[in-house]
Symmetry: C2
């Protein structure tokens, strides 16, 4: 398709597409003449992902480029490629201070939970993963505010999240190419999380109304 | 306990506690003399919640007061009281435009999902609930960006979230007084969500490593 059709089908203005092309967020089309290039479905897909990263994820252009760099890096194995792309996304707060009492206690609690769950890879990657660090921050906040953190209480939640993760990866695997699979994982991380959070809160309202009436 | 002990046990400075007292975020202690007041466990609990609302939830003082007003409103039934307190919390974006094409389509999709799930109360409350509205916004964003929203695909996620919600309410019910139950629900909404999100992403990393290697 030509640029005009790409713009129409994606709902992204010509000026914005040209900006993405200049920034290297979108690969150039196949040049068919001095003034015309041809775009395909992969451009349309990428355009959706760029909008998800910039407009919904509010990533700076430089960070979006890093994410897309990992998405496109065919030299990496699937797990690393997906992980590298996802790790560039914002992950909430980093620990203020590695050695403060609550953070140290939180790290022990998280490790205890992962051991109990048998999540050996997550334990092995440990604090290398920004996701692991953001869990430690969340637990440290609970401890600092005097709320109990209880591995026994949290383990069933973690199991539910694992079942969600299995569905996530099953869905990602329905995609046809490796590039599409990584793109889907990144788009889902940005776009499905708000929907999932809302579903959780809506489920609480539903359950509360069932138990106690409206 | 005296103010000094309340400060020590809560880790909140005297000046900050006095500020909370002046703002009406914390109830005055029992006056035992012209210069001394006595505080109890309920003050300690409330102090934790105020810190969760202000420091972690980053709520403005006026909003925190509204939340606490609902928490303390004994005239309300449990479901309404909990709902009213939770509804004051930030819920992400509101629909920009009620009538734009993607929002209208999203509302239909959400209703279809709720019907399929048999969440009758959630359907009945509908757009009155800010949680319902934030789900519509999340779905509208997916539609606008050209990602599919599939009620069949989402229903099992919603069921997992419902199982989480059942655990949430079971835990809330272990609290002894009605005030504590509502406080716990509010604190959990602010403090456990980041932990749950991190657990979901960590589960994805674990599952990815199991399937594709580290």
């Amino acid at each position: 398709m030509r640029l005009a059709e790409l713009s129409e089908r994606s709902g992204v203005s010509l000026a914005t597409i040209k900006y993405y092309l200049r920034q290297g967020l979108l690969a150039p089309g196949d040049r068919v003449s001095a003034t015309t290039a041809e775009y395909d479905e992969s451009h349309l897909r990428r355009l959706r992902l760029v909008r998800a990263l910039l407009q919904v994820g509010r990533l700076p252009v430089a960070t979006a480029k890093k994410v897309l760099g990992h998405v496109d890096d065919e030299s990496l194995g699937r797990s690393i490629r997906m992980g590298a792309a996802l790790w560039e996304l914002p992950h909430g707060a980093e620990p203020d201070d590695d050695k403060d009492e609550a953070t140290v206690a939180a790290r022990t609690e998280v490790d205890r939970l992962l051991e109990r769950l048998g999540w050996e890879s997550a334990r092995e990657i440990g604090a290398l993963s920004p996701v692991h660090r953001s869990l430690v921050v969340a637990v440290a906040t609970l401890i600092r505010l005097g709320y109990p953190w209880d591995a026994e209480l949290m383990a069933p939640y973690a199991e539910l999240m694992h079942r969600a993760a299995i569905r996530d990866l099953d869905f990602v695997e329905t995609r046809h190419s490796e590039a599409e699979r990584v793109e889907t994982a990144v788009a889902a991380a940005i776009l499905f999380r708000p929907a999932l959070d809302a579903l959780h809160r809506l489920a609480q309202e539903e359950e509360s109304a069932r138990r106690y009436g409206l």
